[in-house]
């Protein structure tokens, strides 16, 4: 039995682990990866204290490595895995992982962030890793000399398309509306590239192929005209979603599908705390997730102390 299980090891979860570790709470961190979305940030230049003078700057992955080392230094245990079930037990909570393992704790910090939104069209799951990618930064170079499609209309989609033009012979940028939501400057820059074609008012209907992706079926949402583009890769850049299936019976969710937390990081369920991008706080940023992680950890500490009949005095520094 742990004092606390932290689900997710991004900026929020790792910061929680630093705080609970320093409070000598028996802490387990369960996570799919170490670092979360900050791993996808090549240049993080707005994290205070992380500057030219810090080794690794401005790499997001290097910053997360610092978080990780610090959390481990203060005693948190780590296990890699994906939580898919959370239940109340007589004296706390039980978290079940997809690999069959289960762990119990007196309190829980939910810090599992967001995951890329999927298209939900036939062929997408089948070809993930076989031409369908959600990480242009990672996989773009493998599509050298191929024609590819990028789906989405925000900054991440337009930037992914721009990056891909350096490798692919041709890039289709497919967006369901008639205008992009990305920054004007980015759009202007991308418009000038010779090997990009904008396909607006259009949604994908199917991803086709044999072993690898060979094409994408698309439909114009105004004219309903259908056609197929021959592509070797499909990059899905349509934002992020918060997975709430395994927590929605325990904690309250808002209309944006975010976990509702109060100013101390408490959810609607006593003993369950939440921090970071999955929470109802606005502005999804590494520094904000880290701050919320610290907050949730300290509130959880107070909660566990009270359970044990000790005074959970509020501490302003430690």
């Amino acid at each position: 039995m742990y004092d606390i299980i932290i689900i997710g090891a991004g900026a929020a979860g790792l910061t929680s682990a630093i705080y609970t570790g320093r409070k000598k709470m028996k802490t387990l961190v369960v996570s799919v990866d170490i670092g979360g979305q900050t791993l996808l940030t090549e240049h993080i230049e707005n994290y205070p204290g992380y500057t030219e003078e810090t080794p690794g700057f401005p790499s997001g992955p290097k910053l997360m490595q610092l978080f990780d080392t610090q959390a481990k230094k203060f005693g948190a245990e780590f296990t890699s895995g994906k939580v898919n079930k959370l239940e109340k037990t007589g004296n706390g909570f039980k978290a079940s992982l997809t690999n069959g393992e289960t762990y119990e704790a007196k309190a829980i910090v939910l810090a599992y962030g967001k995951v890329p939104r999927s298209l939900g069209v036939p062929g997408e799951d089948k070809f993930i890793g076989r031409g369908v990618s959600t990480c242009a930064t990672c996989d773009a170079p493998i599509f050298k000399g191929k024609t590819v499609a990028v789906i989405g209309g925000g900054n991440s989609a337009v930037e992914a398309a721009e990056l891909l033009t350096k490798y692919a012979t041709k890039v289709y940028l497919i967006h369901r509306r008639d205008a992009f939501r990305a920054d004007e400057v980015t759009i202007e820059r991308v418009k000038k590239l010779p090997n990009i074609e904008f396909v607006l008012d259009t949604v994908p209907t199917e991803i086709k192929g044999e072993k690898f992706v060979k094409g994408i079926g698309i439909e114009n949402s105004k004219t309903k005209e259908k056609r197929e583009l021959e592509v070797g890769g499909v990059f899905v850049e349509i934002g992020y979603v918060i997975e709430t299936d395994f927590v929605k019976d325990l904690v309250k969710i808002n209309e944006k599908n975010e976990l509702i937390v109060n100013e101390s990081g408490e959810t609607s369920c006593p003993g369950i705390f939440a921090a970071g991008d999955l929470s109802s706080f606005p502005y999804k940023q590494t520094i904000i997730s880290a701050g919320q992680g610290a907050m949730a950890a300290l509130t959880a500490y107070e909660y566990v102390m009270k359970l044990e009949g000790k005074t959970g005095a509020r501490i302003d520094w430690s």
């Binding site: 990866d33 170490i34 670092g35 791993l39 996808l40 090549e42 997001g60 992955p61 490595q65 890699s80 690999n99 890793g129 076989r130 031409g131 990618s133 990480c135 930064t137 990672c138 996989d139 773009a140 170079p141 493998i142 599509f143 050298k144 000399g145 072993k211 690898f212 890769g233």
Partner: protein, 76 residues
């Protein structure tokens, strides 16, 4: 033991995997498929997929930074 890792320059999981090997003091050969398109084809053929990293441990192919699978393969 023969360990190879296929990477690209900006792939976070490639960096994590390399750090993992360094931490475990496992020697590995890095093949950057961004600089070597022929190696990219080789990687796709071997792994049957197009994502990085791909890790090869004594002929066994592991896709992604799949820590449990890597640990198991290293123990063999």
């Amino acid at each position: 033991m023969n360990v190879k890792i296929y990477t690209t320059n900006h792939c976070p999981y490639c960096h994590q995997a390399k750090d993992f090997f360094k931490e475990k003091k496992v020697e590995f050969k890095e093949i950057n498929v961004e600089e070597n398109p022929q190696a990219a084809e080789e990687m796709v053929e071997k792994s049957g997929q197009m994502g990085v990293p791909v890790i090869e441990i004594d002929g066994q192919i592991i896709v992604g930074f799949n820590k449990p699978a890597i640990e198991k393969a290293l123990k063999k």
